[in-house]
């Protein structure tokens, strides 16, 4: 599924636990506020896409960024979510993700 991705160039692979960076900056950002700082896991590696943060200002979108489908437990996203196995899945670019450290809660 998706474009072929050079294994060596993708930082994360299927199943990796990742955390969405809790950061903000001016510009056109496609990482929703509610998911920033939350932890989930990689479900799909979609491959390389032009960077919307660059395209939004008339630039060429390079370098391309790797896009991932990241899954989260609802109960890990909303502090008051009812207990369930429900999930939220968000398409997130690699530069918004970091590995979850061993010490993360």
């Amino acid at each position: 599924m998706g474009r072929a991705v050079n294994e060596a160039s993708a930082r994360f692979k299927l199943g990796d636990r990742v955390k969405v960076k809790f950061e903000d900056r001016p510009g056109h950002l496609r990482t929703p506020w509610y998911i920033r700082g939350k932890s989930g896991w990689v479900e799909r590696v979609y491959g390389e896409f032009l960077n919307p943060e660059s395209l939004a200002f008339g630039h060429n979108g390079l370098p391309k960024k790797i896009l991932y489908l990241v899954a989260f437990n609802q109960t890990d996203v909303w502090y008051d979510a009812a207990k369930s196995r429900d999930k939220i899945l968000v398409d997130i670019y690699e530069h918004w993700l970091e590995p979850t450290g061993g010490d993360a809660p």
Partner: protein, 208 residues
Amino acid sequence: MSDQTEEHGHDHPKHELSHYAKRIYAIRDLLIEKGIITEKDIQCQIDYQEARTPANGAKLVARAWIDPAFKARFIADPKTACAELDIDATAINEFVVLENTPKVRHMVVCTLCSCYPRPILGRPPDWYKSFNYRQRSVVDPRGVMREFGLEPADDVEVRVHDSTADIRYLVLPLRPANTEGLKEEDLAKLVTRDSLIGVMDPLTVLPE
């Protein structure tokens, strides 16, 4: 100045339009005068959009229900599977099919704007673009589904996809029970647009 837009849809007397509604006529004329776009470009897009309706999605799903090999192709490479049924999905950058099962229901939203598989289904419904749906679907998908008549059991996993990038998602709904005898074109009638977005299951009986 030209005023020759093909009349489609619901027409208000122009002087009653809001300020921004009126402005598009001025913008259109100026763009044509300056050779940025042409009348033909505009008409082409109107025609392109009108040719795209949820019937395309229904056709794909009905075929997938009847033909397991097609279903496998549809899930593995949706754009190519669309071409098999003469559905032009080429404008979609990346197309992903989300298969519902007895234990999984998918729902699709774009919280940041209104991303939707337009080249397949046409324009999204007003409610899909509403602040309400964009706000609630990620935090209360079951509440949203309930409003559309769907109440998955507790042991069913609800998976909400927030379509934030170039991926366009289409839900492949579960084939309703007791439909073994239906012809493909009748099965397609059970597949509503809203079941392709995932807020409801397909119909269980043919509509009148």
